[in-house]
Symmetry: C2
Subunit: 307 residues, 2 copies
Amino acid sequence: MNISMSDLYVSRTDRDAAIIARQDPVVYEEGAFADALAPEQLEAYRKDGVLLLPNLFSEDEIATLNNELERLCTDPSIASREEAIREPDSDEIRSVFAVHKLSRKLEQLARDPRLIHVARQILGSEVYIHQSRANMKPGFDGKEFYWHSDFETWHVEDGMPAMRALSCSVLLTDNVASNGPLMVIPGSHYQFIACQGETPDKHYEKSLKKQEFGVPDKLSLEFLADQGGIRQMTGKAGSVVFFDCNLMHGSASNLTPWPRSNVFMVYNSIENTLHSPKYDLEPRPEYIATREEFKVLKPLDETALAY
Amino acid sequence: MNISMSDLYVSRTDRDAAIIARQDPVVYEEGAFADALAPEQLEAYRKDGVLLLPNLFSEDEIATLNNELERLCTDPSIASREEAIREPDSDEIRSVFAVHKLSRKLEQLARDPRLIHVARQILGSEVYIHQSRANMKPGFDGKEFYWHSDFETWHVEDGMPAMRALSCSVLLTDNVASNGPLMVIPGSHYQFIACQGETPDKHYEKSLKKQEFGVPDKLSLEFLADQGGIRQMTGKAGSVVFFDCNLMHGSASNLTPWPRSNVFMVYNSIENTLHSPKYDLEPRPEYIATREEFKVLKPLDETALAY
């Protein structure tokens, strides 16, 4: 295996698990795109790697988004596409990828000033969508997502060079403590957890259902959780959670009758576009990681909001 | 199948799922053994079917109990017994049954005045231990327990006649919202959810790992949860949760590094001892359901507490 010595974040080799200090800023070039967040909000994001903005979207907007998602999941031409990922043990749709390409309303959501202005401010540049996704965690048997750093996967499997991306999760249902909300380890974005084990080709076909590689080790997780604690990102539908690409996160199973659905938009800096994947891995499909065209996303005119 | 018409709580037949109103009191013969709970605590238990008493045991006592459990789980002569139940996907011990018989310290716990006096007061009679159990939900991959009413199982598989039993769960670690605490539906103890599907013999061998029969249907669960909400019984180590035998409860997976361990003692009224199981099922083993001798349990002398 050919490991470039210039790789700051080496992972998935035959070496032991390791904790590597973050080499990149969390908030970039402050001031260039500064208008969405107040200084104390930006400071909280820098420190914790996560920020919840309550009630950013109205009930009507959320109803529209839920209807749109319902339409996507029941449209046979979409449900049969590879973008639609099913639960491991059932036929229920767990995630739909590339929703900003499958739906005009969700493309508008990606360009919504309430989201994209925050992304531009934190990343200090123009941005594009690296990945978008709707996660439906159905009631009664919504499965857990084990702990992971998105960046670990994006760096290894997609060739994302630096930690200059963020996710935002728009809560489409009330996320309460008991229905499997996003759990994060505040402050964990300052540590890169190098994972053990080489990645097989076409790993993504399985990993979207159940992660087996790029899994952080228990000792590192214990270290992070003892330092930063664990925060459940609960909030009403319409709230939005912004979080750093290297924040350790996961979510428990959902036994309640109440579905937990979110739309994720991953904004990457246009100055951080993808290289080749590590270790000569085959690039993941376009619907999981944008690679064909890194197209700067322009904020929607405030007056053009149609949902 | 021979269904007795005198069975108030028929379940696991070829009939549809059904909701049957509770025919038994929740608090029995008030006054006969009244000394442990205040009237408002008793009233809360009657209404919700659950009551948490914070910090009933001291840190020292909990440390002693944890050490004792650690000893049981690592003692090869105990770990190899059928009382020790393992996780479905690993060798880790998930539960140990009949702990009050395997350990003198846990037998003392069962007779601790702080527990047994509450049980006697609520059940209005002398009591005995129907079942005792330590549940270890290990960090990182502690599995979920799906929704169930204990009484549904005890009635069908053990032949327990009436709803005159309760569980108490002594929290041996901090139970927080994120590490898979006990979840209950307050008020659900007033409804008996008859489950669909006949029970195969020796069902318990599987059901202790993963329940497949005696599973309440989704419509009934939705009805109960919409009425009563879902409460996570979080509390510090040393707190105790008392709950009615027919309360709908479950718990989500534990992804945190923090184990969630509890000791359960199930007190049954000495006036409610077991009949034969329904449908000519073979009785479950003695370590799961006491049947050989219904021995009244006497409270420990307050001065004799050795842990």
